[in-house]
Symmetry: C2
Subunit: 701 residues, 2 copies
């Protein structure tokens, strides 16, 4: 009937508006049941459960069998890691798989069969699940004793497919691949030509003293290739040329030419290519988000305009305010926005809204939340007003910074004086007394500021929150110290009592004081700019970080599988050291290296590579593994990072002058806002064309 139809339209409008708010695609089923399922699927609980499941399945690697999650990384000292009984991790895994099965079925159902066949990600999702479940069954039937577990390498896929940002980024990276491959090919040609040159230049001579270069670095083709590859990472840099260089200085020309061409030109060419590809990346992604939002709003308008209660005006479709209010009440959205929209709806004089008016109403969503700090309390007494003026003034803040600096310097002085002292000679009296005084000052500063600004206004500034929290923690620590060890007095160095020794307590206090010094950042203009850029970058980098996690995880798991059991504690057997150096089978430390690579980071991977290559010069597999690792994580990822940083920073920099006038108002800075003045609004025709292509929504007109 008409009532049911109306309910359906209202529900559709609610879902479309929610889609618009979350920048989601509106291409899903729109019948009543599906809408309910859709809202349920995208409800916070469901999404939270899904995220938790992904976290759990990824975290399983830390407790599964060949894990090395122990306090020390040294194979000689560490205790055997806890081994969960067979079936524990497996049942957890099954649980996760079941959640994923539900997830994929709901997703497939919601987008409809037609769309499903076009969606390669969903197909891959299903395939991954099937392979994982098969592998799981195999695993259980071997009572967890099987060697290869394919499903582990597949795990990061679950993280990947759950984030649309990541999928988009991956697509972008994918489209850069041909050009990157060209540069890598160039690098390969460069490397091979220079390898041949090197082998001809540094050939074996009759004089054994003279051909050190040949013996160490260019003995045969793989050796030469490795030497030059490592030179490309600059890891063995002057070492590789020293024997030749001390024979004849002219040999250095070869190495300089190789380094300049390879490192300076070809490597930076990669940066240029990636930057060129990603120049418009952020803008494009924000533009498509805007399109999704406008489309969702427009779709809501269209379904609301076909409500039966609306008088059918032939000229223009429009929406009654009553219907919209009804929709708004049921929509989940930010409180501030909802109120603002309600307010402007009530101020609207007419009874009907046109499409343009409807869109305009929801522009509130795009606006920045201008943060208004609560007002300071108004004191009656003249004295209090003077106090308020004095302690609310910026100079009082600067004084606080100066005192914090003085504290840092005093700690530094004590550290320099105490650097070489034995722990038993140390006297904590001086530092204890000084810190006691400074912490009292911090407390006083906090209280006076609260007095001047009022608690609410004080807490509305992030720098004050940071400051206050640290002051409170410092106070608690100090009180605890005094309670356990008494007040500072000369020779205040008692033994271990309670949880931490006095020395540890004092160190902790000092570290917190150093950390508290970061409060000066907002006071320095350039620093503030840099820090806000970096924070923006972190926001925009989430997708990249996700992909990085995926790559790290896959590499770590592959590494663990490849080099499993290769770790033999060195000190245990007598001749293990001889074995270690000689053979490739007992590649001790290998896993340590992998956990290094995993734990450390990009920049360190180069050294890691060198280390590995020097130890396992003969082991081809390890070489290939680590070269791939270096290329992907160090070369490509670092360049991606540089490209994004350039993009972000240049945008920010261009806008800095405009911002300066508005610096008093704190914006909630988002990527969308950064680009607001360059974004193009989608046209009416584009929106309607897209709406008519909707696979499930049949518009009346």
């Amino acid at each position: 009937g008409a009532g049911a139809d109306n309910d359906l339209y209202i529900n559709q409008a609610i879902v479309f508006i929610e889609d618009a708010i979350q920048y989601r695609s509106i291409n899903h089923r729109v019948d009543s049941k599906s809408l309910w399922l859709y809202r349920w699927y995208y409800s916070r609980t469901c999404q939270w459960i899904l995220s938790l499941t992904i976290t759990v399945i990824l975290a399983l690697a830390f407790i599964e069998e060949p894990s090395s999650l122990t306090v020390t990384s040294d194979v000689r000292y560490r205790l055997p890691a806890w081994n969960p009984p067979c079936g524990l991790t497996e049942s957890l895994e099954l649980l996760c798989f079941l959640v994923f099965v539900v997830d994929v079925s709901v997703k497939s159902y919601l987008i409809g069969w037609k769309e499903f066949w076009k969606n390669k990600w969903l197909m891959a999702y299903i395939l991954t699940l099937i392979v994982s479940l098969t592998d799981w069954i195999v695993s259980l039937s071997f009572f967890c004793k099987e060697n290869v577990r394919i499903r582990r390498i597949l795990r990061p896929f679950f993280l990947l497919q759950n984030s649309s940002m990541m999928k988009k980024t991956l697509k972008s990276i994918n489209s850069t691949l041909p050009e990157m491959a060209s540069v890598v090919l160039l690098l390969a040609v460069h490397l091979s030509l220079f390898t041949m040159f090197a082998m001809l230049l540094f050939a074996r001579t009759k004089d054994n003293q003279q051909d050190k270069e040949w013996v160490v670095y260019f003995r045969n083709l793989p050796d030469s290739l490795t030497s030059l590859l490592v030179l490309l990472t600059t890891a063995n840099n002057p070492d590789v040329m020293i024997p030749a260089y001390s024979k004849n200085r002219a040999y250095s020309i070869f190495f300089i030419l190789f380094t300049v061409l390879g490192n300076l030109f070809l490597m930076n060419l990669l940066t240029a290519i990636i930057y060129n590809q990603f120049r418009g990346y952020l803008l494009k992604s924000v533009q498509s988000s805007l399109f999704r939002r406008r489309l969702g709003i427009r779709a809501a308008f269209e379904v609301l305009s076909s409500l039966k209660e609306t008088p059918a005006s032939a000229q223009q479709s429009c929406v009654s305010i009553g219907a919209l209010l009804q929709v708004l009440q049921k929509t989940e959205m930010d409180c501030r926005c909802k109120q603002a929209i309600m307010r402007s709806l009530k101020m609207c004089s007419c009874d009907q809204l046109s499409a343009a008016q409807f869109q305009k109403l929801f522009e509130e969503l795009d606006k920045d939340a201008i943060k208004q700090h609560p007002p300071s309390p108004e004191y009656q007494s003249h004295f209090m007003q003077k106090m308020q003026f004095a302690f609310g003034h910026a100079y009082f803040g600067y004084l606080g910074n100066v005192v914090a600096l003085a504290n840092i310097i005093s700690i530094c002085v004590v550290l320099v004086m105490d650097a070489d002292k034995q722990p038993s000679e140390r006297d904590d009296f001086f530092l204890g007394a000084i810190n006691c005084f400074f912490i009292l000052y911090y407390l006083l500063e906090m209280l006076l500021k609260i007095l001047a600004m009022g608690l609410k206004r004080y807490l509305s500034y992030p720098s004050n929150r940071f400051d206050g929290l640290l002051t409170v923690i410092l106070l608690i620590l100090e009180i605890a110290t005094f309670a356990v060890y008494g007040f500072p007095h000369p020779g205040w160095r008692p033994e271990f009592m309670g949880l931490l020794s006095l020395w540890d307590m004092v160190r902790l206090v000092n570290m917190l004081i150093v950390f508290r010094f970061l409060r000066i950042i907002p006071n320095m203009k350039f620093m503030a700019l840099v820090v806000t850029t970096l924070l923006d970058l972190v926001k925009n980098l989430r997708a990249f970080a996700g992909i990085l996690v995926v790559v790290f995880y896959a590499f770590a798991i592959t590494g663990i599988m490849l080099f499993k059991g290769a770790v033999v504690p060195l000190g245990n057997t007598r001749n293990s050291k001889a074995e270690f150096t000689g053979s490739c089978v007992h590649i001790s430390l290998k896993k340590k290296v992998i956990s290094w690579c995993f734990a450390h980071f990009q920049a360190e991977v180069i050294y890691c590579l060198l280390y590995v290559l020097s130890v396992y010069l003969i082991c081809r597999w390890a070489k290939i593994y680590f070269v791939a690792w270096w290329l992907i994580s160090s070369v490509i990822w670092v360049n991606l990072f540089v490209a994004l940083l350039l993009e972000n920073f240049i945008h920010k920099w261009d806008r800095r002058c405009q911002r300066e006038s508005l610096s008093d108002i704190e914006y909630q800075r988002t990527v969308e806002l950064m680009f607001r003045d360059v974004l193009e609004e989608p046209t009416e025709e584009e929106l309607m064309e897209k709406l008519h292509q909707h696979p499930h929504l049949q518009l009346c007109r």
Copy 2:
């Protein structure tokens, strides 16, 4: 009289047009004598003498007293370098100084006194000369035994002041300095805060086994600072964290945080800042060159229009064609351009030229020289025509590439097989025979190509010139080999005869063959793009390279002065090794390190720094010297390079699609052409305003 005036005007016009061609400023004296002096000063001979003088004075350092220009760099083996007698280098220096004195006087005279006082570069030039001459006198009065020679550090200034490009670039770099300083300040804050954290974290403990981290890296404030600074260069990367890491994995968080913040964020921020500054740099410099050219042409027009013979038309000033022809004949310019301008002048129907027509005539200067290859010879015989078709076809070139690849592969195979053989076991027969065959093929290919294309057309392609030259050299080498060692036969490994042993000859041939393989570059599209970009970059980078030479030179001289006499050959005295390790005075190898740093290059400087810092941990001066070196040459210069590469590459890339259609025509690519479609033509008003500001030229109207 009028005749003398007319002569003066003609001369002025000639000089202005030459200024326009060379992109020089026109702000110089314009009376007859000055014009003669100006043309003499900018004549090829004079400029060549000036360049030679600069080269000579810079090259003096290689033969002056503490030079280390010997074949081997190893202090144990090398012979003492040749020491020129006192007075030899000094008299050469005096000669150079005299040339510079002439140079500075002519320059100062030509720009006039008024301008002279505004020109800081000229003042600095004079000051440098005075200081150098004073130092020279002091040096001679001490009979070359004095310790400090200030004039050596000042030498690169002569290189700097002679290039307007370098001065401009330096100005650009200078304007980036405040922002760079901010980032360096941030880095310093980052470093000092983390140093304090590190000292608190890795303090001395009671257990001596446990505090390895403290003993090795964080013993006191300078040690900690150095450890973290070197970590910033990633040189001591996992080493520094391994003791702490093997104690507790959580300590790695500290190092990861430090590396990510410092290396990934702050260091790349420097790249972003420099790129941001240099984004418009090329465009701006090309734009100002264009302005200078238009201004010169306009000035020529103005002086020619005030010739007495011209009928004074009240409305518009104009120039007679006869006068212009007279000027053109005396002007030194590119032959092709001159002919083109003459041709269009003759085609001109009217007798007088307006300003716009005058400018238009000289636009020929901006046009690219379209290189037209001479036509192929036309053969009468049918057979020859078929031959011409077959061997002029692109496929014949591809076949040549395939054969070259086959040759490379065969050399590679022989190298791999012979890698471990003793020189006495080696048999050059196989390689000799193969190479003989291949070189014959190359010769045949060359001859057939010449037959098909004609010698002129063949030589007009750079790839053919490269190819042909190498083929001829290979042929000569091969004939020489056969003449000395006879034809290849099994057991073809005779002893040393003539200039080079057979083995060396074969190696040389192989190297040339590998080098010849580079002819494939133009056949691969992406490679060709990359190579042309790189070549462009090299052109644009000349100014930067010059500044780099200046910096390198100054650092090398400072280093030699600082660490002079610190080199003690290790093997000579018995206990020198003990001395070496213990004391800071006998810093052996120091100079070797400096010559390393000087000889190697950017990318290697990081390792160099590590090496130095690890050896001379206590020597503060060396530390400061090398940190400054690292900052300037590695961090700033590499970032400048990346910025320029990005700029160049992105411009090229954007234009690639447009170019593709024109790829048959080879352009003489210059920076000016790259930007032609974005350049703005200066307006009439701008030109005239600038002309009226000319300090020496009084325009009639």
